[in-house]
């Protein structure tokens, strides 16, 4: 029951939680070291706080939206790509752990004529799962990435019937098939699912990022769609698409590092 005008104070206080969560803090700092080679650890410590601060705000904005339908201000860059995705239907929206995935998906579902299927890591807490289910928008379905067998068929059906499937493509969780990639010069793995789905359904992948710009202010950044052209060499086709995707990721994360909510090191290789 926080008065809204006191939110910045509450957020500043609670985001100090980052001091207590060692593994998360170290994960962010290691990623920052790779994003900003040669950066000092002390500087990255404060950058790390900025990441947690933004994360706290994103969660607060998402919960406020779900509880009271408080909508933030939105800016769109690359609107023509969003229009293209909306007009064609049957597409994959590939994004990253940035801004607010949930908030972006809800806004998209509420303003789109197409059915949106959001794929996300399974929610382990039963109460949170119940809350998510009770507060989801109309025309919007959540699928959990752990149900890999049936999920692939469901998603294929959703895309071929004109739906839009939203997937986060910057992190691989256990049990998910992955493709090798290079991110900020380090070996990394990214989920194979969206690329396999795009190839099977013959639909483009639209890189879309939700970036928090300030208090209750977000920007949707849509980039050129990635077409996966089939050739005799499937691996090369994937490689090309993955390289395009990691290029987009690097360009957005490189400038908006304080928005990348990856609390585990993205690369097994220690940063220099």
């Amino acid at each position: 029951m926080t008065p809204i005008w006191i939110e910045p104070v509450a957020m500043a206080f609670w985001s100090l939680f980052f001091l207590l969560w060692g593994p998360g803090r170290r994960g962010v700092m290691r990623n920052l070291k790779a994003i900003k080679p040669g950066s000092w650890s002390i500087t990255n410590f404060f950058r790390c706080y900025r990441v947690f601060w933004n994360y706290a705000w994103s969660i607060a904005d998402t919960v406020r939206f779900k509880e009271t339908r408080t909508t933030p201000d939105w800016e769109f860059t690359g609107w023509r790509h969003i229009e293209e995705m909306q007009s064609r239907g049957g597409a994959i929206l590939l994004t990253a752990h940035m801004g607010s995935y949930d908030l972006g998906a809800h806004i998209f579902a509420e303003t789109s004529a197409h059915h949106l299927v959001m794929v996300r890591a399974p929610e382990t807490d039963a109460q949170t799962r119940e809350f998510e289910e009770a507060h989801r928008a109309a025309g919007f379905r959540i699928e959990f990435s752990a149900q890999s067998g049936e999920l692939a068929l469901d998603l294929l059906h959703a895309v071929t019937s004109g739906g839009i499937v939203a997937i986060q493509g910057d992190r691989v969780v256990e049990g998910i098939s992955a493709l090798p990639a290079t991110l900020f010069g380090k070996p990394a793995q990214i989920p194979a699912g969206p690329f396999a789905l795009a190839m099977a359904a013959r639909v483009p992948i639209f890189p879309v990022f939700v970036v928090r710009r300030g208090r209750r202010r977000y920007r949707v950044v849509a980039r050129e769609p990635i077409e996966i052209v089939r050739s005799a060499n499937r691996e090369e086709d994937f490689e090309r698409a993955v390289a395009r995707w990691t290029g987009e990721l690097e360009s957005v994360i490189g400038s908006k590092w304080y928005q990348w909510f990856a609390f585990e090191p993205f690369s097994p290789e220690p940063a220099a």
């Binding site: 029951m1 926080t2 008065p3 809204i4 005008w5 006191i6 939110e7 910045p8 104070v9 509450a10 500043a12 206080f13 408080t70 909508t71 933030p72 201000d73 939105w74 800016e75 769109f76 860059t77 690359g78 609107w79 023509r80 300030g214 208090r215 209750r216 202010r217 920007r219």
Partner: protein, 161 residues
């Protein structure tokens, strides 16, 4: 659109917004579309300004009660003020489970504390005077906005059209 009075909470902020309404905010060059929410808690500047003012006066009031020299007391009082605000928030929330009521409760606490510290002879009275002056200005702005309510509604409708 950014300066619609409806996008502000306090009367003083709404009055400032009304005066700024004629300036057209330009989105960044790389922005193709914008979607603005009409919500009285939307203003970043207003929320941060009130939060900073509230934190600052709480820090001053706690500092004056510490047995330390003023600069050191102020530094020590800041984390204590953050904790005190959290306690006040939770206490208010436990009494009445309403954001509006909790908000009013916190403001009443701040006004009561300011009235008390305004009677002191030390430097803290200036902090109290500042807060009470802002409260008084807000009250005047409330009357002005009430008198202008029809004009404001008309201007906002023109913006939304």
């Amino acid at each position: 659109m950014k300066w619609l009075p409806s996008r502000h909470h306090f009367a003083l902020a709404r009055l400032i917004a009304l005066m700024m309404l004629k300036t057209t905010p330009r989105p960044a060059a790389d922005v193709d579309r914008v979607m603005f929410a009409v919500d009285r808690h939307q203003s970043t500047a207003e929320n941060y300004a009130v939060s900073i003012l509230f934190t600052a006066i709480t820090t001053c009031y706690i500092a004056t009660m510490l047995p330390l020299a003023a600069p050191l007391a102020l530094v020590s009082a800041l984390p204590l003020a953050l904790i005190a605000i959290q306690i006040l928030l939770v206490a208010g929330g436990l009494i009445v489970r309403s954001i509006a009521a909790n908000s009013a409760f916190m403001m009443l606490c701040a006004v009561a504390a300011s009235l008390y510290f305004a009677t002191r002879t030390t430097w803290v009275r200036f902090a109290a005077y500042t807060f009470l002056a802002v409260v008084a200005l807000n009250a005047i702005a409330f009357v002005v906005m009430w008198l202008l309510r029809d004009r404001v509604r008309e201007l906002e409708l023109r913006c939304a059209a």
